[in-house]
């Protein structure tokens, strides 16, 4: 059990949980896997908590831990040995556009992980290019090109026989 000195850690992570789950879910599209990503991020954060005072921007740091762990798991194929390496998950509420959401998540799951990460950080989490570059440990130029490749992939996937032309209206 956590002792009193861990209270600060617990308070911090508890407050950040919704945002971390959102990020993880956006990246992997699967509820269980998202929770596993957050759990691992929380574990790694605790390991460094004693020295966390050296970290300037804690939120950005934690986001970086989560994102890099996500990319790492993709490279290693670690998630394959887990039960939840299934199809993309979709929120189960009866709201507008359930099919659209499913189709979108399915398409996003087919975008290469690094491009997907850039799309999620930039458009779901509204992070500026420089911030995304820091998170991924690459140059802003790379973020821009990955964004453009990721969007092209999404357009191809969404236009390609699945969900056509919902385009003009919102232009």
């Amino acid at each position: 059990m956590p002792d009193a000195s861990d209270q600060e850690y617990v308070d911090y992570v508890t407050a950040r949980l919704p945002a971390l789950r959102r990020l993880a879910y956006g990246l992997c599209g699967d509820r269980d896997q998202a929770d596993d990503l957050v759990q691992e991020t929380a574990t790694r954060l605790y390991l460094r908590w004693a020295r966390i005072g050296e970290v300037e921007q804690l939120d950005a740091y934690v986001r970086t831990v989560l994102v890099r762990h996500f990319l790492d798991t993709r490279r290693r194929g670690w998630w394959r040995v887990h039960l939840f390496g299934g199809p993309p998950d979709v929120r189960s509420t009866e709201d507008r556009g359930v099919e659209e959401r499913t189709v979108l998540r399915d398409a996003l799951a087919q975008v290469p992980p690094r491009q997907r990460t850039v799309l999620v950080l930039r458009f779901l989490h509204d992070l500026p290019v420089e911030e995304v570059a820091r998170t991924l440990g690459c140059s802003p130029g790379t973020v821009k090109s990955q964004t453009s490749h990721g969007l092209a992939a999404m357009r191809r996937l969404l236009g390609d026989r699945e969900l056509a032309g919902r385009t003009g209206k919102e232009r």
């Binding site: 059990m1 861990d6 299934g86 959401r101 999404m154 056509a164």
Partner: protein
Amino acid sequence: MRTDDEHVANRLRWLDDEPAGPPRIDLPGAIREARRRRRNRRVAAAGLAALGVLAVAALPAALGEDRRAAPAPAASPSPSLPLPEPTGPWQGVCTATLLPVPGDPRAAVTGGDPDGRWLVGRRAPQGQGRTDFGLLIWEGDQVREVEMPGSMQKLTDVNRAGLAVGSSWGAGREQRAWAVRDGEVIGLPVVTSGGATAVNDAGRIVGYRNLVPEKPWIQRPVVWDSYRSRPVDLPLPGPKWEGTAIDIDEDGTILATMTDGHPDKPTRAVVWRPGAARPEVLPLPRVPGGKADRFMPLSLAGGWVTGTAERDTEVVPRSGIPSYPVRINLRTGQAEVLKGVLWAGTGNGQGWLAGWVSDDVPGVITDTRSVRLPVPDGWRGERQGEVTSFSDDGRVLGGKLESDDQVRPVRWTCR
């Protein structure tokens, strides 16, 4: 950013949600695990120092996969029923009808045969996570329900004999390819992970296989001689090319959408003609302003490759970069930009295209004219949707219309 990219980005924001259900994050567990790792790290460091050896992580055992053998094939598909003869030249006067769906009416058409007699589709997703799609096959106004194993089930094409093909996700991360014949769902002979996208009247099926199941975006085009045959890799235009076959013509010519493996290179159309040793990469068509930067093939029928072409411009018009409807005559190699704008859709055996056109309405673009498709009587709200099937005679189209939470399968008939 291009405006159509903005559109994709806007749609992506739809996904900005927390996963459903309570979190199962266990913070005391995270603390315990972190402490255990800290201890192990100290022990491991000491052990390594003492032994002077490197530990190598054991590889995880491969997951067992469902390798059910395909059921023994039944007799060849029955010949199609006689069709009503089209009457006179195509006038472009069309009506829209909602297709029958048992129970919950939310569904979409996802493909059809060259005569428009058969349409295939799926219901709105059900089940936990809403990834379970019930499949539907219409023959005229008769509808049949089909259950395909897995999730994200989809039928993408059907031939004149009613043989439908599609794919689903398996229990792991792999995809499976299927055929449906007389309501019977038949697993296509083994592809570790892959899907079927199109079938012709000879029963030849094309699609893709995934080189690495956990990387579904890396695909190789494949062909099955029949639903009983093992898939064969199509020869690539170059060593690193990747992509999927998307259509097969009645003469056996196959169309794929591919890239040369470099992420900066555009999508190209690749065709394999019957008997030819090598595939051909079709040249990028010329569109207003110069050579297109991208060509996204949509279909191949009657020797016509149809698709949309785009050319990047310094200044992006308010309406976005135009997506030009293009048809390429494989007999002559000639590419032709048709009038208008097309935001995805499909083509037919006359080289006509159908989809969402200028002003964001469903429509048909032929070599000589452009026609808007109507909505069914009583349809209220938006005209969002798609066209996924276009008969060779231009008289039957299938697709879907969406408005608010409504998704309805639609058949347009034209005279």
